[in-house]
């Protein structure tokens, strides 16, 4: 095997990538640039095309059209074994007939490297499993197999490491631990990680940049904070965390603010946070995250006349369901700092929040986009 793969370096560039299965476009004209050395997450519900995208980058699937390049090298039609890309598979895909040592050494040996002992020993120490080198994969726990799968990939020092739902098979506690560990390994080895997941919390914890995918396209790309605080589509607003979205109509603007009438209330939205496209009837969806709303204090934007229909105590916060006069239920999360403890179901309250937390989305969009997908199904 000629080792031309090792010299390829640089940003990963996907240009107008399309993968069609018959009439169905699993990936639909996808373009993005993933900077070298970053921890990038492709986040979306199952069937959104994220795994297909990953398989095209790995070479396991051929794009219908478009191109894939690392730095200046086009790898669109390269065989999987001829590209500097390694994958951590969903169920690890460790070779059951080989020892852990031979599993990790597999890639090095195929590239014709004779002396593999140092490299393998080092990477096994990195994942703290050096003592298991002579075991078979079947004798390892799920978490250990997961770490071996990572070791088997990064020992090759690829330009790009692909992780396909790498933590999906682990229980919650182990998943948290592996999230921190993977993040640490990425900083340690400095390889570009592309992580595919349907778990928004996992993506937010680990990635520098997240691309939210839906129906073969990228809905929005940005840092976790950007995506959470300023979602640009209803899908992102609902898929990442929870959002209250209320229909409104733009009345006018004053200075840098838009004035929006929401069921008779006047709501202020900073112009820079209006992500709605211009439309003739000036309708928008006003968005506000539940934890930004206060029931007790007045802070600029207010909606009155809500009735508490449900209170659930979840430790760090208390979650209220509040029915508004126009029938819609809104969520409010109050910190458990004593402020809201006297509230009871049936109380009439006023919701209020700072205008700068408000965002405005396309008024014609489906308010439930991104909510009906169950993030745990796979």
């Amino acid at each position: 095997m000629v080792d031309k793969a090792a010299s390829v370096k640089g940003d990963l560039r996907l240009s107008n990538l399309v993968k069609a299965f018959g009439d169905f476009h699993a990936v639909d004209d996808l373009s993005l640039v993933i900077p070298e050395g970053s921890f990038f997450a492709l986040l979306g519900p199952s069937g959104c095309g994220k795994t297909t995208t990953l398989r095209m980058i790995a070479g396991l699937e051929e794009p219908t059209s478009g191109s894939i390049a690392i730095g200046n090298t086009d790898i669109t039609y390269e065989k999987p074994y001829a590209r500097p890309v390694n994958t951590v598979f969903q169920n690890y895909a460790l070779f059951p007939h080989l020892t852990i040592f031979e599993n990790v050494a597999f890639g090095l040996r195929r590239r014709g490297i004779k002396d593999v002992k140092d490299a393998v020993t080092k990477v096994l120490e990195l994942v703290e499993l050096g003592h298991l080198a002579q075991r078979k994969p079947g004798q390892l726990s799920g978490g250990q197999q997961q770490r071996i799968a990572v070791a088997r990939a990064i020992v090759n020092r690829p330009a790009l490491l692909l992780l396909d739902e790498p933590l999906g098979a682990l229980d919650l506690k182990l998943r948290r631990q592996m999230q921190i560990e993977l993040k640490w390994i990425q900083t340690e080895v400095g390889i570009t990680f592309v992580h595919v997941t349907h778990d928004q919390e996992e993506a937010m914890t680990m990635a520098d940049t997240i691309a939210v995918m839906n129906e073969g396209r990228i809905e929005q790309m940005g840092s976790p904070v950007e995506l959470y605080e300023s979602p640009r589509t209803v899908f992102v607003a609902n898929f990442l965390g929870q959002s209250n979205l209320v229909k409104g109509k733009i009345e006018g603007s004053s200075g840098n603010d838009l004035q929006v009438s929401v069921h008779g209330n006047r709501i202020t939205v900073p112009s820079g946070r209006n992500f709605a496209k211009e439309n003739s009837d000036k309708s928008v969806l006003i968005g506000i995250r539940p934890e930004k709303i206060s029931i007790e204090h007045s802070a600029g934007n207010t909606l009155g006349g809500g009735v508490i229909t449900d209170i659930s105590f979840v430790g760090v916060s208390t979650q209220f369901q509040i029915q508004m006069p126009w029938g819609q239920e809104l969520s409010v999360f109050e910190q458990n700092d004593g402020g809201a403890s006297h509230l009871q179901t049936g109380d009439t309250v006023q919701l209020s929040w700072k205008p700068e937390f408000t965002f405005a989305l396309d008024g014609t969009a489906d308010v439930d986009a991104g909510t009906s997908v169950n993030p745990d199904e796979e």
């Binding site: 999987p80 074994y81 994958t87 895909a93 070779f95 059951p96 078979k136 004798q139 088997r152 090759n156």
Partner: protein
């Protein structure tokens, strides 16, 4: 007493089932030590004589030799061809795949007596005289189906992600097959070969039609049963049984060691 029986009923049942299964084998083994005369039907005293000289009876070892030769050649060919068919059926989608899948079962379902007779008719029509090679060809024919079915089951249980992982780790198509696919399918191929050999070694009906004057071990035993089977046949039967048992036990030992450290 009644309580004891109800408590141990399953054990008693299992014991009886094993007795039923093993009496014929025990009988064969015991009579390999019989100080037999012309026939080996009545117990006439214990001796090691037959075991010390298993080729003592006329023709018994040449018949065994023929059976082993036919068995090895037929197994080799049937295993290679059957494995290739199994890979084609298990890994590739092509027009007529389901038809082929069905046709593969036909030789297993056809009565041996019919197969044997038609094969003989076919060979004679082609001007080929019955003998060693026609027998090998016939054996390959009925062994292939069993090989295909056995190996295909193994291939189906193989995770295709493993091959993708190998390709992802710089192994070319050929290397992926050599390093991952083949080693993982190997136990299935080995099992198929054992099955093919025992089918071939054991076959009487088809062989009887197609072997002409060539004597195989089953044919020898059948023919000699008319005038008395020599005790050496029991020795060879027992040996084959012990050999098969040894292979199975060794296989179990190897696989259990593989899963432990």
């Amino acid at each position: 007493m009644r309580r004891w029986i109800s408590k141990n009923l399953i054990k008693i049942y299992a014991f009886l089932a094993f007795v039923y299964l093993f009496i014929p084998i025990a009988y064969t083994m015991a009579f390999s030590f019989n100080d037999a005369g012309k026939s080996n039907l009545t117990w006439r005293g214990f001796t090691f004589k037959n075991w010390q000289n298993p080729c003592g009876a006329p023709e018994v070892c040449s018949a065994l030799g023929n059976s082993l030769k036919i068995g090895f050649i037929a197994t080799l060919i049937a295993t290679i061809l059957g494995t290739m068919i199994a890979f084609a059926l298990g890994r590739h989608r092509f027009k007529g795949r389901s038809t082929v899948n069905l046709l593969i079962f036909l030789p297993m379902a056809t009565p041996e007596i019919v197969l044997g007779a038609s094969l003989l008719a076919m060979f004679l029509n082609l001007g080929i005289n019955p003998g060693f090679w026609p027998t090998v060809i016939a054996h390959v024919m009925f062994c292939i189906s069993f090989v295909v079915v056995t190996v295909k089951a193994r291939i189906a249980s193989l995770d295709p992600k493993l091959e993708e992982a190998a390709m992802d780790l710089y192994a070319s198509e050929v290397e992926t097959f050599r390093r991952v696919t083949f080693p993982l399918v190997m136990p299935g191929i080995f099992g198929a070969a054992l099955l093919a050999f025992s089918l071939s070694f054991d076959d009487f009906i088809i062989t009887n039609f197609n072997s002409g004057t060539l004597t195989t071990f089953p044919k020898f035993v059948y023919v000699s049963s008319a005038r008395g089977i020599p005790a050496q046949a029991n020795v060879i039967g027992s040996l084959m049984f012990l050999l098969a048992l040894g292979i199975v036990l060794a296989g179990q030992l190897v696989s259990s060691r593989k899963n432990r450290v």
